[in-house]
């Protein structure tokens, strides 16, 4: 196998990260991110885990601005 280095940018085959390496991160970060988005976007609105309206009212403006359905 012979290799030759090329100096022009963006020529070589880009390397893909194997799915096996991504999967644990995907599950961990994905869950965390979805939970965060849920709390900003929907908690105490459409669904309510923690009773009351405090979270809803606290992120109220952000919820409107980010286009989530709100009251």
């Amino acid at each position: 196998m012979s290799t030759s280095t090329t100096f022009a940018p963006t020529i070589a085959e880009p390397i893909a990260i194997p799915v096996r390496d991504i999967l644990p991160w995907a599950i961990f970060v994905g869950l965390l991110a979805l939970l965060a988005i849920y709390f900003v976007g929907a908690e105490q609105g459409a669904i309510s885990i923690i009773p009351g309206m405090y979270i809803h009212e606290f992120v109220h403006d952000g919820r409107h601005f980010l286009a989530f359905p709100c009251h």
Binding site: T10, A33, A46, F65
Partner: protein, 238 residues
């Protein structure tokens, strides 16, 4: 996620300047409505001063950081699989696609609403419809992209990509046709205010994703160069 955090901070500044005056106007309208019905303005659980600063900051930054995290995952999967692109090109392309697929298209059907619009009774249905539209749009985009990739074996790149885009547009149009329309805007709500709010919200997403895509691209390319992953440094195997 760092890029998302940065994007969130900038989006917060944007929202403070552009969205807050509109939200305030809408709330004035909402309170007028309560008064004319003989009731009182809704009691404030969290003061407007907190809502428009700390609350807005928390909401936008947490949201952006989470979007940044998901963006990183999609990037990790897409880099090297979409075609011959350096990391920065991949991130800009992904950010543009995310803006169109996750925000622009769903917002055509279910646009953002300022306060005073929306019946609390229908919040469940509206939320479900909104997320269904986003999910459909995302699934259609992934399907269209796989189709385009498949077609690239038979057609040239432009035609294959155009076919994919066409299929996506058809699928999105079908969803908009099938899903019910929601219109809960009070008859006397100012049209200009509604229009401005929706544009500002869309603009906010554009700002958020543009910053995220550009900042992430810079960080990712630096990191991948250091790790020797980059297309630029890699020796080509002949």
């Amino acid at each position: 996620m760092l890029a998302g955090l940065l994007a969130g901070l900038i989006a917060f500044v944007y929202a403070q300047y552009f969205a807050e005056p509109l939200i305030d106007q809408a709330i004035v309208f909402e309170d007028h409505g309560h008064e004319s019905l003989g009731g009182h303005p809704a009691p404030e659980l969290v003061s407007r001063a907190v809502q428009s600063t700390l609350g807005l900051l928390t909401g936008v930054v947490v949201y952006s950081t989470a979007i940044g995290g998901i963006f990183a995952l999609v990037f990790a999967f897409a880099q090297g699989r979409l075609g011959r692109m350096r990391p920065r090109s991949t991130t800009v392309l992904l950010a543009a696609a995310a803006f169109i697929v996750l925000f622009l298209v769903p917002q055509i059907k279910y646009p953002a609403n300022p306060p005073a619009i929306g019946d609390p009774e229908t919040i469940r249905v509206r939320t479900a419809l909104y997320f269904a539209m986003i999910a459909w749009s995302a699934a259609a985009a992934v399907g269209a992209m796989l189709l385009a990739k498949h077609l690239m074996r038979h057609l040239d790149m432009w035609n294959a990509a155009l076919c994919g885009a066409g299929v996506y547009i058809l699928a999105a149009a079908l969803a908009m046709f099938v899903l019910p329309t929601v219109n809960e805007v009070p008859d006397d709500f100012p049209a200009t205010l509604l229009w401005q709010f929706r544009m500002v919200s869309l603009g906010g997403h554009a700002v958020l994703l543009a910053i995220l895509g550009l900042a992430f691209g810079i960080l990712a390319e630096r990191k991948m160069l250091a790790a020797g992953h980059s297309a630029v440094r890699l020796p080509r195997i002949v």
